[in-house]
């Protein structure tokens, strides 16, 4: 029958039509590649292109390659390579402090053995704070140029800060301007707050004394070239075509951006901030599926994959010995949140009453003791997890309180605490108090394997001391909205911490102002400590406050801190010279090198 069919004339004709259709479709899809010029990498064979190209897999596309607007991590990584920065910053792993460097000045001397960052990338030659700590003056270098040859001048900064502060543009970084003159009255007065007496002098003025490290941090926003952007109206800023052709001055420039597919950066030959990138081309490829990202790393189609799950390490390294897994941390932790206050009452009357289940610190302590955090770490994160006591990371060594002992897993102690609080077993084995059962729903967001794993262990742990914990998963958007509206009794989530300690948003007693205090926790001493720490002009002077802060949080257990997570990144061994740092996996990417493919045995 098949032969008969193949001989059939109409079938042949149909086949020909189909083939033509196929060719048409391929042309159609190829038309979509715009800007696909013949480039330096186009050597006509795969090995050639791969030798000069570093490929990094990313989950999703960058939103904007414009420092005023870009708000995703991917955007941040790429913007950092394209645009120049006023200062270079470096995280000192010995002290846990951020250091800032200009060409000829450093905030503090680096610990010996630390500090590889090249200060030549900085636009500032030097800076000085005024005696009253209310202004900072930068001296800029004269030999910095945008890619079009125009010099980078102080006016670019003033222009860019006005964009950052413009409510019509709605930059996610306007918080950085919160100490400039006028910000206390609701609107920054740019004429007074930022002065540019000449092209190489840049002065920022604050309405209050600001510690030097914060002044440096808050004046470190990336500039845009004023001459390119000045004609763009604020209301058109977000959809200006200029967003697709960023003009920078850093070690790389944008070569090609195929949205939702890939971003290709080429080493900028003329850059002296600090120098042209060592690898000729860097391609960021969108690969949304995790399994496929792993497969790509394994076959060598991509060189870097972030956030590899610990369960996949063994198989990955076994399949390809040219891959290594590197870790960095600790910045991310998971926790179980307990509503400290009765939210229903709070929403109805605005009054603060303890939550019927989790209102007492002793009950929350019992819950922490009942949860086997070690078991979760052993079962899932293994050596990539560390028990978490409070939200100050062990990596921030200058502030971390290492005398605090974690609450050990001890179900019998937990039961005793609950009994003392009046929770006694009912006829069905579930604890009861004044007719109310100890029963609740633990919510978490969909699609997080680690949290799913942990939540099942937590459920079993709690069941064994007579607490009925039901699990529910919500779509991320819905989950986040429920948290913000303080609708949930108990949930599991995580935080990624900043490198400057500022926990008032999460624990501040003013529940209207502290938007991320989802638990409703209130302790006036915590507010005091945070305010006192902010007043110290040298961060290390505040360490006594942070030590006390951690003791209080450890005692009050507003939430059950579960574990810190070491972020794990998969690297191809053909990359050389990479240094991972808590401030990012691509921290010194402009210094990375690629070994030629002849040496790479796949």
């Amino acid at each position: 029958m098949i032969e008969t069919f193949a001989n059939n004339f109409s079938a042949t004709r149909r086949l020909a039509v189909n083939l033509m259709f196929v060719v048409f479709l391929l042309t159609l899809s190829s038309c979509n590649r715009h800007n696909g010029s013949e480039g330096e990498a186009g050597k006509g064979k795969r090995g050639g292109a791969m030798d000069s190209t570093l490929v990094i897999a990313m989950l999703g596309d960058a939103d904007y390659l414009n420092p005023v607007l870009g708000s995703t991590v991917t955007s941040g990584n790429i913007i950092g390579l394209i645009y120049p920065s006023l200062l270079q910053s470096e995280f000192d792993t010995t002290t846990g402090l951020l250091n800032y460097m200009a060409l000829e000045k450093k905030l503090r001397e680096a610990t010996p053995g630390q500090g590889s960052k090249n200060p030549k990338g900085a636009l500032a030659k030097s800076w000085y704070m005024s005696k009253d700590q209310k202004s900072i003056t930068y001296i800029l270098r004269k030999d910095a140029f945008w890619n079009d040859g125009k010099p980078v001048v102080s006016g670019d900064f003033k222009f860019s800060y006005q964009l950052y502060g413009n409510p019509v543009i709605a930059s996610a970084r306007q918080q950085y301007l919160a100490e400039l003159i006028g910000a206390d009255k609701g609107k920054v007065d740019f004429n007074k707050a930022i002065e540019t007496p000449d092209d190489t002098t840049l002065v920022f003025r604050f309405y209050k004394p600001v510690p030097e490290h914060l002044a440096l941090y808050h004046t470190s926003l990336t500039p845009l070239p004023a001459h390119q952007w000045k004609k763009v109206k604020p209301e058109e800023f977000r959809h200006s075509p200029l967003n697709l052709e960023p003009l920078g001055a850093g070690p790389y420039k944008l070569k090609n951006w195929q949205q939702q597919q890939e971003i290709v950066l080429a080493s900028s030959r003329t850059s002296n901030l600090p120098k042209p990138g060592t690898i000729p081309l860097i391609t960021f490829r969108v690969v949304p599926d995790y399994t496929v990202r792993l497969a790509q790393l394994q076959t060598g189609a991509v060189d870097v994959v972030e956030n590899i799950k610990p369960e996949d390490f063994t198989a990955l390294l076994k399949a390809n010995n040219q891959i290594e897994v590197k870790t960095v941390g600790l910045r991310v932790y998971d926790y179980v949140g307990w509503s400290n206050i009765d939210q229903n009452e709070y929403h109805k009357t605005g009054k603060i009453r303890p939550h019927p289940l989790f209102g007492s610190a002793r009950v929350r302590l019992a819950l922490t003791q009942a949860i086997d955090r070690e078991a979760i770490i052993d079962g899932y994160l293994k050596q990539y997890g560390v028990i978490c006591n409070t939200d100050i990371s062990p990596s921030l060594k200058w502030a971390y309180n290492d005398r605090i002992m974690p609450h050990a897993f001890d179900p019998s102690k937990a039961s005793a605490l609950l009994r003392a609080e009046g929770w006694l077993p009912g006829p069905d084995g579930i604890l009861q108090k004044q007719g109310r059962k100890f029963s609740f729903v633990l919510y978490t967001n969909a699609g997080n394997a680690r949290r799913n794993y942990a939540s099942v262990i937590i459920q079993q742990n709690l069941r064994s001391i007579g607490i009925d914990c039901k699990l529910d998963v919500q779509e991320s958007n819905v989950f986040f909205e429920s948290l913000q509206e303080r609708k949930l009794d108990a949930w599991m989530a995580g935080w990624s911490i900043g490198l400057e300690i500022d926990p008032l948003d999460v624990w501040g007693s003013d529940l209207n102002k502290s938007r991320f205090n989802f638990t409703g926790y209130q302790n006036p001493r915590i507010n005091e400590l945070c305010e006192l720490a902010k007043l110290k002009m040298d961060p290390t002077g505040a360490s006594a406050y942070w030590l006390e802060y951690q003791e209080i949080i450890h005692q009050d257990q507003p939430i059950t801190f579960l574990y810190w997570i070491k972020e794990t990144q998969g690297f191809s061994k053909r990359i050389e010279g990479e240094e991972l740092n808590i401030s990012g996996a691509f921290y010194n990417i402009d210094d990375w090198r690629l070994r030629p493919s002849a040496n790479v045995a796949l």
């Binding site: 059939n8 479709l25 899809s29 979509n32 696909g36 050597k43 292109a49 959809h239 948003d505």
Partner: protein
């Protein structure tokens, strides 16, 4: 027939409009906030408010509806919230060619193989070949696409690295020359199109087999054979044309698929097609993009059905429109 088509098209206008209005209200009633991304520690609380003001979300919903209505009537579907404020149809125009390529190739393969296998199964009913084809078809038909796709990747990209695991082109494909570029694209499309078409062809084969079996038992087929016509002519000229009638419905209903994309395949093989645009828009609460997608898929479903009905009339003279 022209009047019939015109009538159907006119009826489609209020229908699609109703769908859009429903979508407009449903997405705004659903929990979630398009500005949610900007609510994080370290970002000023004003930002989310400013973003909402930019999107016009601070007005009461009826006011938003009236404004939206005014814009839609002028053909302006607005700008996407989540994709750098591109006009929504630009976003769609970027994703559509990729989706059409994959879906077009898939449909060709689907119907070619589906019809072929269906005919063989029907003509050789209950033979070993038929049993084999039926079992194989059912096996693939019941396999979840995403799982099948991952298995194909493990098999053909990892164990036997014959095809790439994802993406539309190799790194540096721009340097391959036009022919090399198209071949490279084709090489990247083999796995996804195979996954999609094996699944689809299996379904179509079942349809064709069923309707073919019914047709071959008809009197006119016996007459044709009795006339002494060769078996080839009986099957292809007399039986197939009639057996293909239900397949025409399938073809009509495949039209929306061409444009709406195959989400799992797009995610797994990292193709920026319509499926991903739609789902990402929903997760990001990108209202204008969701509505534009609804408009496109709604119109295509209506058109697809109309197309199928017209094809019916063309294929079967007994049906009068």
């Amino acid at each position: 027939m022209l009047i019939y088509i015109l009538k159907r098209l006119l009826l489609a206008v209020p229908l699609i409009f109703g769908v859009l209005t429903l979508t407009f209200f449903i997405i705004r009633l659903a929990p979630g906030d398009p500005a949610a991304f900007f609510i994080q520690p370290g970002i000023s609380p004003n930002v989310a408010e400013q973003i909402r003001a930019q999107y016009g979300l601070n007005d009461p919903v009826p006011v938003q509806y009236v404004k939206w209505l005014g814009n839609i009537l002028q053909g302006d579907f607005g700008r996407s919230f989540s994709r750098a404020q591109q006009p929504v149809f630009d976003v769609i125009a970027e994703a559509l060619p990729i989706t059409i390529t994959i879906a077009g190739l898939t449909l060709v393969a689907n119907f070619t193989f589906g019809i072929l296998i269906g005919i063989i199964s029907a003509v050789r009913q209950n033979s070993l070949l038929d049993r084999f084809l039926t079992v194989t078809a059912l096996f693939f038909y019941s396999m979840p696409e995403f799982w099948f796709a991952l298995m194909m990747i493990i098999l053909f990209a990892l164990k036997f690295p014959l095809f790439p695991a994802s993406g539309l082109n190799e790194i540096g494909a721009e340097g391959f020359g036009p022919m090399g570029f198209v071949l490279d694209r084709l090489w990247h499309l083999v796995l996804p199109v195979t996954v999609l078409s094996i699944n689809g062809a299996a379904g179509i084969a079942r349809y064709v087999r069923g309707s073919m079996l019914e047709v071959i038992r008809q009197d006119y087929i016996r007459t044709a054979r009795a006339k002494g016509l060769p078996e080839k002519v009986v099957i292809f000229k007399h039986a197939l044309r009639n057996a293909l009638l239900p397949v025409i419905t399938l073809m009509g209903s495949s039209l929306p698929f061409i444009f709406s994309g195959a989400l799992f395949i797009e995610v797994i093989f990292a193709f920026p097609g319509m499926g991903r645009v739609t789902v990402e828009a929903i997760f990001a609460r990108d209202y204008p993009l969701i509505i534009a997608n609804t408009f496109i898929s709604g119109s295509l479903i209506v058109l697809g059905n109309l197309f199928a009905d017209v094809l019916y009339a063309v294929a079967d003279p007994r049906i009068k429109l």
